[in-house]
């Protein structure tokens, strides 16, 4: 199995219900790996993947450090670590300083995805209360990857999406229910 495309999704305050909507719409046979980076409260270190799994067709798992990224999998960045993608298509964890007060940081995940997968990355940014994600979206955009942002008017907190829209010419600004159908339309026919 080869990895052609990869999907990264970032969200913060107000993104949890949206993430549930997206996950329920991802079909069972969706081929590209999907990697989620969600900010969470510092004391909520466990049970997050379980909560996301309630309505999903592909089980969300927390990867292990050095695990090989596989197609048709959905991964969730572990609490209190940055999640990076390495050049051999494995995950690499890092406990280095928070980025924009966040660990895991969306920027860190997106930038490493862009470095390794280049224009094969589709990045999705959701509701959030800080500016994490803007640098990451920029990195994806610069490498020719695809960018999707939740329409700020539909965000509980619009700081994160507005910051990205202000700074980067993003391709798709969409309400939650249009995000996954658009993502699927962007993937090669027989992904």
């Amino acid at each position: 199995m080869t990895l052609e495309n990869i999907v990264v999704v970032g969200g913060s305050a107000g993104s949890f219900p949206i993430m549930n909507v997206l996950l329920s719409q991802i079909p069972k046979d969706f081929y590209p790996p999907v990697i989620l980076c969600l900010h969470r409260l510092k004391n909520v270190r466990h049970g997050f993947a379980e909560a996301l799994n309630l309505r999903t067709n592909i089980r969300v798992i927390e990867p292990q450090d050095k695990e090989v990224i596989k197609p048709n999998h959905i991964y969730l960045a572990p609490a209190n670590y940055h999640l990076l993608i390495d050049y051999d298509y494995t995950f690499a964890f890092s406990a280095s300083e928070p980025v924009r007060y966040s660990r895991p940081s969306i920027d860190v995940l997106f930038m490493s995805a862009a470095a390794v997968f280049g224009d094969k990355v589709t990045a999705i940014l959701l509701s959030g209360a800080n500016t994490d994600g803007t640098d990451g979206m920029y990195a994806v955009h610069k490498k020719g990857g695809k960018t999707i942002v939740q329409d700020p008017t539909t965000c509980t907190v619009e700081t994160m999406t507005s910051s990205a829209i202000k700074n980067i010419p993003l391709q798709h600004i969409l309400p939650p229910d249009k995000i996954i159908p658009t993502l699927i339309s962007l993937m090669p026919k027989n992904y």
């Binding site: 450090d65 050095k66 390495d86 890092s94 406990a95 470095a115």
Partner: protein
């Protein structure tokens, strides 16, 4: 400003530093190492790896300081409290009857993990027969560790973790607060030897009852992980313990076969 580096630039840096300064980053996980280097370039306003190496060569930048910036020194008192609960209930009972207890903290950073273990041993009334070897690749953090004093901004996290650990005694038994710092009693660390040690290149032959190597292996590639875990196994007494970070994994290492995994959640291993 440099936004990104190519992986071959990262490899070039690692190669050059190994040849000239003896620090071996060649088998570090490239994506993480790259992030650290981009951060350093930005910190010192340098335009690329060549400039960074030039500054080091001309002694305008201290290589040890650069190493300090590359390595991650994140640590907490009682980090992952349930791991410490497991050590208290499942590991200490096997150490309590030994005439002496030999402990190695392989990447002790600013010393929080050493103090945590010392508190556990003190609770169990076996601190006096423990000898600690506390090492780090970075001498600057060792200097901080030796002082056993911490800024008050670390207090809330200490208390959060300490309470989650469900201690037998109030924290005031071990430390005092004064102005913007808190100071741990010197008797906690009186049997600790702090020393610079590079897990990648330094050799060690001592035998230990418990080795801590938490959140270090994540910065290495698989090949180096295997080498380091094997090195640690060689320094572990039979039926003795290895503690790694709770999100880490050594299942990819050949040396993992030498251990039984006692707690999949806390990642505490026992040598066979």
């Amino acid at each position: 400003m440099i936004e990104d580096l190519q992986d071959n630039e990262v490899k070039y840096f690692a190669h050059h530093v190994k040849q000239n300064y003896g620090y071996d980053f060649e088998n570090y996980a490239i994506s993480s190492l790259k992030r650290r280097l981009v951060r350093i370039l930005s910190l010192y306003h340098l335009q690329g790896i060549e400039k960074l190496l030039e500054q080091i060569q001309k002694n305008k930048l201290d290589i040890h300081e650069v190493v300090r910036q590359i390595t991650v020194n994140t640590t907490e008192f009682f980090r992952d409290p349930t791991a410490w609960q497991f050590i208290r209930s499942e590991v200490l009972p096997h150490l309590i009857h030994k005439p002496n207890i030999n402990i190695w903290h392989t990447a002790c950073s600013t010393g929080e993990e050493v103090i945590t273990m010392a508190i556990l041993l003190s609770e169990a009334n076996i601190l006096d027969k423990a000898t600690f070897y506390a090492t780090d690749i970075n001498e600057n953090v060792l200097e901080q560790a030796k002082k056993a004093e911490y800024h008050i901004r670390n207090w809330d996290l200490l208390m959060e973790n300490y309470n989650a650990y469900q201690p037998n005694f109030p924290i005031e038994r071990y430390c005092v607060k004064h102005s913007d710092k808190f100071f741990f009693h010197k008797n906690l660390t009186k049997n600790v030897t702090y020393e610079k040690f590079d897990l990648v290149s330094d050799i060690h032959t001592e035998q230990y009852d418990i080795i801590f190597c938490r959140n270090v292996l994540i910065y290495f590639n698989q090949q180096l992980q295997d080498k380091v875990v094997s090195k640690l196994a060689n320094c572990t007494k039979p039926k003795s313990y290895l503690v790694i970070g709770s999100k880490e994994s050594i299942i990819w290492c050949k040396a993992a076969e030498r251990y039984n995994l006692l707690s999949p959640k806390e990642k505490i291993y026992q040598l066979k």
